[in-house]
Symmetry: C2
């Protein structure tokens, strides 16, 4: 099976199907505008566990189980799980998946991980290495604040450019064929690391926007399309500041995406009412929004073709404290109803 291959892209001749998708979120996301789209809103932010991290793992476990159940794919047809989260050494993923008894590829692309996992799952299934594979990504407000900024107990003040890490998980069963009409992954564009030299960890949108612009530009070039090829171009978690930068950067390159562009980070909360400043973030932000809101709008026929672009800021507290910049990365996935 040969695929048409651009410079950074793959267009699948036999596009894999998303046969099942599930989302689980925490209480704050359950008070936001997308609440009705999620499969489960858990009122307990630790999901019945005794730490944020164990709660995140439990959230991931539940979401994968639900996606598999919704897909109607037998478990023995699922050969691989591609999974990741924001915690150091991927402990959310390790302890979330360890009892699943399936081969695991652990991934880290910061908040771009949902795009990375979907890309690799689609590549694996389209190459006929597996009938089905699972892609899963999570983030958790409590574990991420402890990991990247300050433990919640400090009651630290946050500048208005800061985003709010989503407690959420999205899981997807990607299959070589489907019994029913469902969304398909028709192409993927893999991003480069892009570094504009920004060092402000409270302004992630500005760190990530150049990487998003780069991969969207490359997608247009590789597929030889213009922005109106897509009904929606939806980035992961640029927030209000990153959104402006993205639109400006692509406008300079001759592409106006202002009519198509949305950002999961700007959709998942009511930023004024919920006091989430620049918007939602975290790799669970784009993953849960895709599994909940975006795929349902594709399924309903409202959107025929979506360019989904999770965006990641590549830093750790160590690199930040050693004075390094915060480079960005983004991976684009084309999803359409077939």
């Amino acid at each position: 099976m040969k695929e048409s291959v651009g410079n950074q892209s793959i267009v699948f001749e036999k596009p894999p199907a998303i046969t099942g998708a599930a989302s689980t979120v925490g209480p704050k996301e359950g008070e936001g505008p997308l609440a009705s789209y999620f499969d489960e809103v858990c009122d307990d932010p630790t999901f019945g566990q005794d730490s944020w991290e164990k709660g995140e793992s439990e959230m991931m476990r539940r979401t994968v189980e639900k996606a598999i159940k919704k897909s109607n794919v037998p478990k023995y047809d699922i050969k691989y799980i591609f999974g990741g989260d924001l915690n150091g050494q991927l402990i959310g993923t390790t302890f979330g998946l360890k009892d699943m008894n399936m081969p695991v590829f652990g991934l880290y692309g910061a908040c771009s991980t949902c795009g990375e996992s979907l890309s690799l799952a689609a590549m694996t299934v389209a190459a006929e290495y597996a009938k089905s594979a699972v892609a899963v990504t999570s983030s958790h407000y409590g574990s991420a604040e402890k990991q990247f900024r300050f433990p919640l107990e400090y009651g630290n003040q946050r500048p208005l450019s800061a985003t709010w890490t989503v407690t959420g998980c999205g899981a997807f069963v990607v299959s070589s064929k489907s019994e029913t009409v469902c969304p398909h992954i028709t192409a993927v564009t893999t991003g480069k690391i892009v570094d504009y030299g920004i060092k402000d960890s409270f302004n992630m949108g500005a760190c990530m926007a150049p990487a998003a612009a780069d991969v969207i530009y490359q997608n247009f070039k590789d597929l030889n399309v213009r922005p109106d090829y897509y009904d929606k171009i939806i980035t992961g978690d640029l927030g209000s500041i990153g959104k402006k930068i993205l639109i400006d950067l692509l406008f300079e390159q001759g592409y106006d995406i202002s009519h198509q562009h949305d950002d999961c980070g700007l959709m998942i909360y009511d930023n004024e009412a919920q006091d989430t400043h620049s918007g939602g973030s975290g790799c669970g932000c784009s993953a849960s929004t895709l599994a909940g809101y975006i795929l349902q709008n594709i399924n309903s026929g409202k959107w025929g073709r979506v360019l989904f672009v999770p965006t990641g800021a590549l830093l750790s507290t160590v690199s930040y404290n050693e004075g390094e910049t915060i480079p960005g990365i983004a991976h684009a996935v084309v999803i359409e109803q077939k």
Copy 2:
């Protein structure tokens, strides 16, 4: 192109070639028994930088450049880099690769990452998504001790079961075809997360051995072979304690690998003379040993077929301090001269 696919394995019909490999290590590895096999031994453990982490990134950058140069593959034919390291949020990889201007998939499988990156690079190239892809993995003693145990400045005492994290990097150019005779990746077996409930972070060998046994057993079953199918079965960093457990576990399943088995962690240092206790560890241990010692023995014709099995212990200081176990994971790659 169809591949014969076992339960957890892929046997490539058109096996991708390792057209270039390079290794870079620090001064301690340069005093060990494999010194003459490495491309570069750097006397400065920070590789000319002002921190362990920046040194690790510089080591990775140099190693990738050297592997590409040795492969004679033009850079524009390399479509992806699959890379990872042990630092939280993969900062070694991010800052090592950020100026390469190539699409990046970030991976985390603890010390199994070299197997994970080679597997995904081989799968990608064999599926004709790319003419060539790079797989790279590094670890650094200074950054890893700070990350997982104690900063070096503490002068902490280490029990005899502890391993010594290798300062080393291995990079591999995986290509759809080669101009010359070289080692090929003929099959991969992807590991599950295996948890025997061990909680001792100073005894990583015991944490990882069950995962190594699991994936080697599965490789035998999927490929329908016995241990003597391989000239060597080489695990990543089980050390002396993990080696015994691995051999015992497989013996219980009816497979005696004692004649074929070696462990990179037991080869890279002279444990008595160099005071490295249970052996070398870290994902750079297996990566640099493969790029240096193992591939040269395959190239020379000494070994016809090797099962290479990097082994990872899945923990972070957070999971460890919250009382979690240390599960293991291992990925197996079959490498033979073609």
